[in-house]
């Protein structure tokens, strides 16, 4: 097996060395990197904008055009920035959810995409699109429902008499993923031919259809979800010792499990509803966070949230510029970067 629970278990001694200060410093560094990525990546796109005027307009928060034409101003503030914010929200959501699943299930391979949870959300979104196409707000709700149903299905399938082993969990994920994939294929076949193409693109993860109405909802869910899981980081640390030990140490195991399942499903649901299934983010980013900052969830969860946002912003900039004015699905880029990086991490550890 590619890594066991013991690898990411934290000893209580190591615990105490981690101070609030260290968390704050790492998060401040990552937040600064995220902010500069937002600014820098908004200067890149299929259309060339004057850099100095764009920076000036960004610094004025859009109150001044700084000599940009109306079209350039609209490109920057109506198209690029909303898309970058969506990329940040989607990346932050998926990485936070991944970190949460990995800690709760004590499995380094637990990831929304690999466990079929993204597919559950995708089925929910498709149902919303097919039956309530005009009502945008139904998409995240049904996506959340789908994600939660898939999470519970995987969890129940994985839990044998001997408890959930990492192998069993991945197998359960494979079963749920393939089952839901066939549901998706079935729904696409029922749909008319013209919508199939846009669906296949969306399924691979695509941020171009940024909905102005849903963007604030997606961002809010990301921030609230990341905070909620960070607040449960101490319990999750103890859970990594095993459910029984955690229970003996006073962790309300059942309640924490429900919180993580619901919050992670909410995060996955809102990001899939907005952008389809962007893979590997929930796997690679929490791993990087743990490798560089240690496996204390009080640091690794908020670091994964910020790092995920950073990762998807950069990946999406590649997706929208590399063959401009054509575009690639961002999921293809995250997988392209993510899979080799993941193999490298596995070989190193």
């Amino acid at each position: 097996m590619i890594g066991t629970a013991s690898e990411i278990v934290v000893s209580p001694a190591q615990h105490n060395r981690v101070t609030l200060r260290r968390t704050l410093i790492s998060c401040a560094v990552l937040a600064a990197a995220l902010l500069s990525a937002i600014v820098l990546m908004s200067l890149l796109g299929s259309e060339q904008l004057p850099a100095r005027a764009s920076l000036c307009a960004l610094a004025s928060f859009g109150t001044s055009t700084c000599g940009l034409t109306q079209d350039q101003f609209d490109i920057l503030f109506q198209i690029r920035l909303p898309r970058i914010f969506l990329a940040a929200a989607v990346g932050g959501s998926l990485a936070t959810a991944g970190a949460g699943y990995q800690a709760l299930l004590r499995n380094p391979l637990a990831e929304p995409y690999l466990l079929g949870i993204s597919n559950g959300a995708a089925v929910g979104t498709m149902i919303a699109l097919v039956f309530f196409g005009a009502m945008e707000w139904t998409r995240p709700i049904l996506a959340f429902t789908g994600a939660l149903a898939a999470t519970l299905a995987v969890y129940r399938l994985a839990r044998g008499r001997a408890g959930a082993t990492p192998e069993r969990l991945i197998l359960a994920g494979v079963i749920v993923t393939t089952f839901l994939s066939s549901v998706i294929v079935f729904v696409t076949v029922l749909m008319d031919a013209t919508r199939i193409r846009s669906f296949t693109f969306w399924l691979l993860g695509d941020l171009s259809g940024t909905s102005k109405a849903l963007l604030p909802v997606t961002i809010t869910i990301t921030i609230v979800g990341a905070l909620a899981l960070t607040l449960h980081a101490r319990s999750l640390n103890l859970l990594m010792l095993g459910e029984r030990d955690a229970f003996d140490l006073g962790v309300e195991v059942g309640r924490v499990r429900i919180v993580v399942f619901v919050v992670a499903s909410l995060l996955v649901g809102s990001s899939v509803a907005a952008s389809g299934s962007v893979g590997y983010v929930g796997l690679v980013v929490p791993h990087l966070a743990r490798l560089s900052l240690g496996s204390d969830n009080r640091i690794s969860i908020p670091a994964a949230s910020l790092g995920g946002a950073l990762f998807v912003i950069v990946a999406d900039t590649v997706a929208r510029t590399v063959i401009a004015p054509r575009e690639l699905p961002v999921g293809a880029i995250t997988a392209l970067i993510g899979a080799p990086l993941f193999i490298y991490l596995l070989r190193r550890s």
């Binding site: 490109i75 008319d192 193409r197 693109f201 259809g209 401009a324």
Partner: protein, 309 residues
């Protein structure tokens, strides 16, 4: 590990596999020689296709090909069509063989056609080999422009033995095309954005049939140089292109799926001046006789003053 019974079972299974394979190979080699004389016609994939002298059973695997077969007066010889083939109305009475991408091989073979017409969009190599193994000719059409459509009409006319009617049809279509091109010849081309779908944004690129059609109609596709036929297009590039007209292929078999202009184009000159045109997708996306209808509709939209009586 293995009991005696298991080994008997495995022998039985192997026997069954061998028998099945033998039966399958016997079946696939059953093809009979072509009766009577045959002709050789070169198709758009540069394949030399052997077609029987007299063709009276044809299957069409694309809606534009079905339309061409009917237009050259051979609708009565069409024995199979796809679920997308809905024009002319008589076509709907013909047996369905699945859709363009997933035709049922069994059903096609059961219909005993002499020729199967495919467009490259639906062409599947394995599928073609299997049909040819049954001595069914597979004829590929791949028109990239209006000239290609005229060629397809001629070829299909030749296959079904309706050469005269096909020539007459091509002549009429050419006259109408020439009339349109003459009318818009002196006009400044209108900068057009062709919106295949709004969210996500897809458009017609360099290789799309409709790009040629827009040019002939006095339009200049702002995405005409983008590689590929149906590229996913950048929102900001669409905004920056500032098209003077937008075409929304909609209606027809597409329904109302594409009836709203993409958000990035809401402030474009085309929208501000009310120059958004919904044109029947079947006239634009199916390279067939009705493409000339699409050509006329677009030309009238781009240059209304050129057609005033």
């Amino acid at each position: 590990m293995f009991t005696r019974r298991d080994s008997y079972l495995s022998v039985l299974v192997w026997l069954a596999v061998v028998v099945c394979l033998a039966l399958i190979s016997a079946c696939t080699q059953r093809g009979t020689a072509n009766p009577g004389a045959s002709r050789e016609i070169t198709d758009d994939a540069a394949r030399r296709v052997n077609v029987p002298a007299k063709v009276d059973r044809v299957v069409s695997l694309a809606p534009n090909l079905t339309e061409i077969v009917f237009a050259v007066g051979a609708g009565d010889r069409l024995v199979g069509r796809t679920s997308y083939c809905d024009f002319p109305a008589e076509a709907k009475a013909i047996a369905e063989v699945g859709d363009t991408l997933h035709p049922s091989l069994e059903r096609i073979i059961a219909l005993k056609p002499q020729v199967v017409l495919v467009s490259t969009a639906s062409q599947l190599e394995v599928f073609t080999n299997q049909l040819e193994g049954q001595n069914i000719a597979v004829f590929v059409t791949d028109p990239h422009d209006l000239e290609g459509v005229f060629r397809s009409v001629g070829q299909i006319g030749e296959i079904v033995g309706e050469q005269d009617q096909a020539n007459l049809l091509v002549q009429k279509l050419r006259e109408r095309t020439n009339a349109v091109e003459a009318a818009v010849k002196q006009k400044q081309p209108v900068r057009v954005f062709y919106q295949v779908s709004g969210e996500p944004l897809y458009t017609a690129g360099h290789d799309a049939f409709v790009t040629d059609l827009m040019r002939r109609a006095g339009g200049d596709s702002v995405t005409g140089d983008v590689p590929g036929a149906w590229p996913k297009y950048s929102n900001e590039s669409a905004l920056a292109a500032r098209p003077e007209a937008i075409i929304l292929p909609s209606g027809g078999s597409m329904g109302e799926a594409n009836s709203r202009v993409a958000e990035a184009l809401r402030q474009s000159p085309a929208v501000l001046q009310g120059r958004v045109y919904k044109i029947n997708d079947d006239h634009l996306a199916r390279p067939g006789p009705r493409s000339v209808d699409g050509l006329e509709e677009m030309a009238r939209a781009f240059h209304p003053d050129a057609f005033k009586k």
